[in-house]
Point group: C2
Chain length 260, copies 2
């Protein structure tokens, strides 16, 4: 899967250069620019389209703690594991508080879906499963520092989430009371990203390893992007869900005003 | 991934019932009905769209012998392995003849792509990689008889390929001399399918195992379907290839006449 080596210069990057290279990947590939998100933020998605998004994205959320447990299982340093396990607690919750997965279910319920239907995941797009499995493949098989680097989409998520919350309150006020997931991510994601970028800088000790880490972030961005491609194709334009997948019931699945 | 159990009746299926159940899956989910293939067979794809298809489908072809080698590596019966290894020879070739992979390259070259560009695979859609990896996941992790059953799309491929060859000669005569891949599959696929369906019937000895085999074929159909969804989204409608993927150069990528 990894292929990209930054051509030319082969000197090791400083921390600032590495951060700039990672941010460059985000500019080019992070899904904040995906047309599905643009429609969402312009208030142009129907309730049915938001249901399809919440249902499929729930499946993705549900594999994140599994992804983090795989990383945990490959970490040989207890101090790394102590930091990383926070991610699993953040998603799965503990005695004191709900985790991100339950908060996402609250969001999905606010779109009008039953909890059992969301958690059963029988109607998710096959592409959503393939993409989830791809992320699990990545953290099972790639060099450890690349697995950590693949989490660095969190460098970009705060801005996207802040914008999304603002626009959801504006365009979909019936969702406004169900945004706890995003509220929590506003602080969790930057904390996690700060640790991960420092780890990548400290442990990718050659330019080749740094390039591998940058490529892993590129691959992770491709995973997020492909997820929205599949949603757009199935539920916006042309609007063809594959056999067996969730179908929008309210008839308002299309926004005829947008054509690429 | 497996979830579907045929509801109700739990008696073991006869050979004819099993074949009928598998054919039913094909009717519902095989990609002969996918809109991308319908456009292809109606002569409505541009040369650039056929390039995108050939380039991405080459990547899929290139992993098929790897898939078959994984199945070979899990087979404990030498007589099974002797039969199954034919598939690897069919794709990779031997001293006497080219294999399917080289024949596919010939097809891709006929669309106007350089061999190196096709084999380098740097421009394939991320979704194409994810889908290829999903097929490899399946044969690595599922019960052995389900891996064999996942090949049973070959029950349906002869009719699709025969139609495709006829329509390609009619609509894209500049491809007519490069259809050797399909010519070979007309005989290879039915031979392979006949062995595989008999194997599945003989070795799925409970109704639950039979249901698992049927589900594996469903999952394989979803893999093929998702591949064409990704091509359609990137190169037909709306026609948005993801960052870094192959882009059509000739400007004729859209067929404005089709909208779902």
């Amino acid at each position: 899967m990894a292929s990209g080596t930054v051509a030319g210069n082969t000197a090791q990057l400083t921390f600032e250069e590495l951060r700039a290279a990672l941010r460059q990947v985000g500019e080019e590939r992070y899904h904040h620019k995906h047309p599905f998100h643009l429609l969402m933020h312009e208030g142009k998605l129907s309730r049915g389209q938001l249901q399809a998004w919440a249902l499929n994205r729930y499946y993705y959320q549900s594999i994140i703690p599994i992804k983090d447990a795989i990383i945990l299982s490959r970490a040989t340093d207890p101090s790394f594991r102590r930091v990383w396990r926070k991610r699993i607690v953040d998603h799965d919750g503990d005695e004191q508080r709900n985790g991100g997965i339950l908060r996402w279910i609250k969001l999905a319920e606010a779109t009008g879906l039953d909890r059992e239907r969301v958690m059963g995941a029988r109607e998710v797009l096959p592409a959503t499963r393939f993409i989830g499995n791809e992320y699990l493949n990545l953290v099972r098989t790639r060099p450890f520092v690349e697995c950590v680097a693949s989490s660095l989409t969190e460098l970009f998520s705060r801005d996207l989430i802040a914008l999304r919350m603002e626009r959801m309150r504006q365009h979909y006020p019936w969702l406004a009371s169900a945004l706890d997931y995003f509220e929590a991510r506003l602080t969790e994601a930057p904390e996690d990203a700060a640790f991960a970028i420092q780890y990548v800088f400290d442990h990718a000790t050659t330019r080749a390893e740094q390039d591998g880490a940058i490529q892993a972030l590129r691959d992770k961005c491709d995973i997020l992007w492909a997820q929205l491609d599949a949603l757009y194709f199935a539920y916006v334009e042309p609007g063809w869900p594959p056999p067996g997948a969730f179908r929008i019931e309210d008839g308002g699945k299309k926004d005829e005003g947008r054509r690429g």
